[in-house]
Symmetry: D2
Subunit: 430 residues, 4 copies
Amino acid sequence: MPFNAGFVNKKKIINDPVYGFLTIPHPLLFDLLQHPYFQRLRRIKQVGMTYQVYPGAMHSRYNHALGAMHLMQQAIQQLRGKGQEITEEEALGVLVAILLHDIGHGPFSHALEYLFIADVRHEEISLRMMEHINKEWNGQLDTAIAIFTNQYPKRFLHQLVSSQLDMDRLDYLTRDSFFTGVSEGVVSWDRIIHMLDVRNDNLVVEEKGIYSIEKFIVARRLMYWQVYLHKTVLAAEFRMMQIMRRARELATRGEKLFGTPELLYFLEAAPGRDAFEQDPSLIDRFAQLDDHDLFSAIKVWAKHPDFVLSQLCHGLMYRQLNRVSLQNEAFDAALIESLKEQIVQRYGVLPQEVGYFLQSGTVTNDAYLPEKDIILILRKDGSLKEVTELSDNFNLKALSQTVVKHYLSVPKEFSLKTGIQPANTWLFLK
Amino acid sequence: MPFNAGFVNKKKIINDPVYGFLTIPHPLLFDLLQHPYFQRLRRIKQVGMTYQVYPGAMHSRYNHALGAMHLMQQAIQQLRGKGQEITEEEALGVLVAILLHDIGHGPFSHALEYLFIADVRHEEISLRMMEHINKEWNGQLDTAIAIFTNQYPKRFLHQLVSSQLDMDRLDYLTRDSFFTGVSEGVVSWDRIIHMLDVRNDNLVVEEKGIYSIEKFIVARRLMYWQVYLHKTVLAAEFRMMQIMRRARELATRGEKLFGTPELLYFLEAAPGRDAFEQDPSLIDRFAQLDDHDLFSAIKVWAKHPDFVLSQLCHGLMYRQLNRVSLQNEAFDAALIESLKEQIVQRYGVLPQEVGYFLQSGTVTNDAYLPEKDIILILRKDGSLKEVTELSDNFNLKALSQTVVKHYLSVPKEFSLKTGIQPANTWLFLK
Amino acid sequence: MPFNAGFVNKKKIINDPVYGFLTIPHPLLFDLLQHPYFQRLRRIKQVGMTYQVYPGAMHSRYNHALGAMHLMQQAIQQLRGKGQEITEEEALGVLVAILLHDIGHGPFSHALEYLFIADVRHEEISLRMMEHINKEWNGQLDTAIAIFTNQYPKRFLHQLVSSQLDMDRLDYLTRDSFFTGVSEGVVSWDRIIHMLDVRNDNLVVEEKGIYSIEKFIVARRLMYWQVYLHKTVLAAEFRMMQIMRRARELATRGEKLFGTPELLYFLEAAPGRDAFEQDPSLIDRFAQLDDHDLFSAIKVWAKHPDFVLSQLCHGLMYRQLNRVSLQNEAFDAALIESLKEQIVQRYGVLPQEVGYFLQSGTVTNDAYLPEKDIILILRKDGSLKEVTELSDNFNLKALSQTVVKHYLSVPKEFSLKTGIQPANTWLFLK
Amino acid sequence: MPFNAGFVNKKKIINDPVYGFLTIPHPLLFDLLQHPYFQRLRRIKQVGMTYQVYPGAMHSRYNHALGAMHLMQQAIQQLRGKGQEITEEEALGVLVAILLHDIGHGPFSHALEYLFIADVRHEEISLRMMEHINKEWNGQLDTAIAIFTNQYPKRFLHQLVSSQLDMDRLDYLTRDSFFTGVSEGVVSWDRIIHMLDVRNDNLVVEEKGIYSIEKFIVARRLMYWQVYLHKTVLAAEFRMMQIMRRARELATRGEKLFGTPELLYFLEAAPGRDAFEQDPSLIDRFAQLDDHDLFSAIKVWAKHPDFVLSQLCHGLMYRQLNRVSLQNEAFDAALIESLKEQIVQRYGVLPQEVGYFLQSGTVTNDAYLPEKDIILILRKDGSLKEVTELSDNFNLKALSQTVVKHYLSVPKEFSLKTGIQPANTWLFLK
């Protein structure tokens, strides 16, 4: 069906708190919204456990996918307005690609990626889901898949879906900032999209937009430390991960656990890449999982006889989370050893079970990573420059290095002897 | 502990997308936030199935309770600024009362009220929960409970919690309008609170605020028809109710159903007023239920061998809801009879099971109901008038009558022969 | 030049606090923005003396004209999306028409209409200015003028420019509400535009938009009483009018006044319809006037030896305005007579000069006036109904009557003996 | 009169588009609002010629002063809530000080400072005006003046009025960003104020607010380059300055110019520090000047026989401004010489008049200047650190250096031969 024709009289609109009205400009997009793979995104929170700190952050991956598609419509219109050719088929393809770019996320994906299907990244699951739908629907997603996998000749279409300045990032920063109430994460998506253009098949930003890019990068960094890597959010996500690890361990040992059949399948069978490659029904099973499976089980597990499982679950339900410390240097190995011993003694757990209660490692934050792909600025004389080279009075280079922080997550009752201040016991406040 | 003293150095703030920063001005309030009865509100959506039409409406009852408490702080400040005495103890009491006013809501409360505990209204459950906490905490909630139950001498404090212009309404209209994106439901809570005063122990509104009151009443009506009683929302909520009715019927018959232990308890035992009065553990059991129990079960029940249950659940999960029609007159009895027969034949269900698929009845909307309690306007000469008497050039009286509409909810495959237009099959759009 | 082509690479954007980015989609529109007739709108406040009550209301007619053009772009896109044909030429025409619809307004136009050019309405001046530009620019405004004067065959284009639901009203309510901070005046322009369609060459609103229309009408009424006809705004505008009347009287008598040459021309020559019809230079002279001419003169006139003029001007500069009373019934003639006598005695002015200090009369407010032109609702079955006939549960009829209020404006020092409360002496507050 | 008492029943509120409602908490503040010195701020635009680029930026210095006072009320409440003592008298003093901090600004102050009263900074004029009022009002401003001049013992009160993080900056960035529509300039004033505290009589920021401070500094820098030092804004402000210089030159030579008596006084008498020190009436004369005096004269001067004056004025009125170029290095002296010669030849002006048409020099932007005064961060362990020392993963140091740019401003008809691109001739767009 031709894009935006024959369909015009039943163009659909959806209210969105962030942008006002969203329009669904093609029946294929509408049909995708109804697909069970997509509808499940309604039941998966966009930012996992973040609502423990920012109570407003209840929005779903469904909201984000629609929002990113809305921004893509604006981007298409801008680029066409600047004389860039985007055919109807390409427009539809890139809209489908952005709509489905995150379809493979499972519940609490950032915490639980690899847990339900070991060694398989969510992008692979997204692609597999697209391929399933494409097969059902006789190839209507061919162009979208080519764009998503960067095999489509016009490379800038892929960049709109996945790059430093893609519609995914513009929407999630805008949306997460909106729902958390962290107004400082706001990015000028409107202005940035107005500044986009294409040169040599690369997405570029007009020079006069350089301050907006700087601010976008600063806002992204701020959102990382203030929201995504907030200590209490980390504590809750680590906890979720340990709960599922413990449940899987018990389940694979043959212990009976409460849970929906699909959740129990993943815990008991613990599928990995082999199953992903060979079992065509795995995707459909995965598509049954959502936040409800996890939380309904965790509430029940809080009374399970296994001390480790019930302790972890009880703490998550009743906000007795670990204290997470972040610092620039690695934590002292002796300190960690001593804490582990205390945990073994106090809790009466086995040494190999200590990892359920104490976690350490690093988190990283790349506000802008030019090694991966770069932001190109289109100068007034037509030349192109990488953004950090141009920004002469602002050290964007400082932001283009990966920041690594070491974390240590320990139950609050164990004190760190290193003189670190006792954490604020008023957990959910910044 | 004296209000706002001793506590000042650890005053807590929470980000809220609607109002910016919320402050928790007293440790008792903070402790209440942490109570399991209150924390469960995080897992109960404020507007139930509304997200089926307005995808942004994922906010929880927790968000609303905090918001209403924030508005109460503004109201206290305003009234004190106008010379009305509100002692520290009263201020704390009215803040506790508004914070907990909805604590007794269960999951999908508007649809499922009376289902889990027959014949008991959520206000009674709220009160019971407050009393439990009060007992645990040695009477710290005495004043709050007196205000909540309108037994406190200063009656206007109760009116701030529950009346035509209470902080509950101001917050829920503001908040639901915000998260649905229905900008027309916005009310000027700020201006209305600035116009509040007290005369003869009654909450009154200064005369210059009369247009704001009119607009508040119009906005409330608009939210009813556009959001709370939206046809698709009704269809989803009726569906939820029928699912739980069917599950309870099967459970009481002895059929084995999947579900969390607490959900199964309520379905199997089907407690009513007697249990509510006599079983002190019932409240704690009830406090275990949230949206996750229901949805995790419904996903599983969609494959249950009982045709009625699986059909109802499948439809809810995959957006095959009934078509709901609304009209001013009652639906033709013969039409309803004919539809019931068709359902029996096509689905092969028993006549007494038809009610799971076809519902009819009335919904009502009182934008402003002066019979219940009135909005008093404080004139410049100091006299008081009921708002509809004053508003000479605007027929508020028209808005002060209960509007009754008849609904008929039938699976989409059955056509109404009365010439009613086929419903829009694009479900989630207005 | 074809619309939106050849121009695409230099499409211009302007920041607007209300809508974000405005786009100028055609060079003709851009050229019009630069025209001196249009640039002068930057120096004319949109809502005259309103900033005396709402200090934020400093926005200019230039801001409003751009905003209305922005909304027109949205409306064109919506109607085209619903299959309504609007050619490129028509689109440009209707954009030009809305951009220039208010170009004929002079400074403080609501107060001073007819004062500088007696008996000539601002719409006539707008048309004359368009015709001047059209002549200069070889007929490029032909279509726009035909639409503006309702002589273009597609009547709905005129309705977009001038009717109960035109882009003018949608923008001015939105904008005036925004800048005054009266959030209750907000209208859902976005939703209303999405609901527009055309039937039988009439602009119509889809039935599901009926609550938005009701709210639009209520908001409009609210803005009238709370902003446009606010007592202090009226007092300031009456004052401005009396100042100019007095200055014109002195000037025509041959008194020397300070003022820009153009202001003095209008005061001394006091042109009327004859001059408007016969003197081709009058429009250019008129186009020189703006708020600066008036205020720079008024500051100087505050020290003029003429008691009436200096008294009036001093009061305007130093916020000693009249008290305005509004009531449903006419003011008592004896009261007015007595006040006039007091003024003559206290001020020592001539009886025929009393009118400079005391004004009485009526103000009217038509929230929706179906006698003039009606709002048509497009029902789901395709039929059309006038909005008040459809709105069965809301008495829109109450809003469709002209409300007339009587005013009496008197210097604050003269007390009304009728028991009316002394006005609030804190002038600028509502 | 005691603060907030006796006054409570007539507390006044004002609508503000930025913050909603502003409250005037004391009669002295209200009386100050009415003072002619203060009322004139209504007629002086906050950001001068900025509206030439951002048409919404019509807001006045009056709006800003009220807004800064509103933020000060929030700050007082926060600091008191953290146990910092601020007496009623101090609270009133610091509110008066912030309300009046900019009262000495004249029209287009950034461009015209020193022009009307040579060698005297606007802060000195502000202080002089405060002293005048203080004398009239029997010392009611004593505390305010002590705070304003940093002679009050509690130094942090002065810092709230004037420092890197004062309420002045927080409001003007918020407000200018709001009215220009440059959403990227938004600062989280709410969050920053919540993070303020006092240590050793210094205003400090709690450590968890460090990202907000970084973002504040970045936003400030962005506003400088995108708004305050925007090339077209610079061109318009340079033009305004040259017009007044030329007018003063003609006036001191004895040429007759049109203008209000006060404007002519300043042009003819050209007062300097001596007059400022010795002529007590000078301040009252200065307080008569506002934007209207300038624009009404400029419109008339556009037809003045002096070529320089009329050319400059005509260009300002009809948007034929200079092209301004900004670069990191100084402009080539030979280029400037050559341009000057061309101007002399083409315009037939004297060599000493070239400066009216061509300007060159430097503009600077200090996003954060620790040499002047520093932002102190209060760490969790109670220690204090300067912000750039703490921000380990972000090079705030890069922002703490003064950025100097060289400008060259030349009429558009003269081409720069250095290969610089021709400036965009669409003036008002970024």
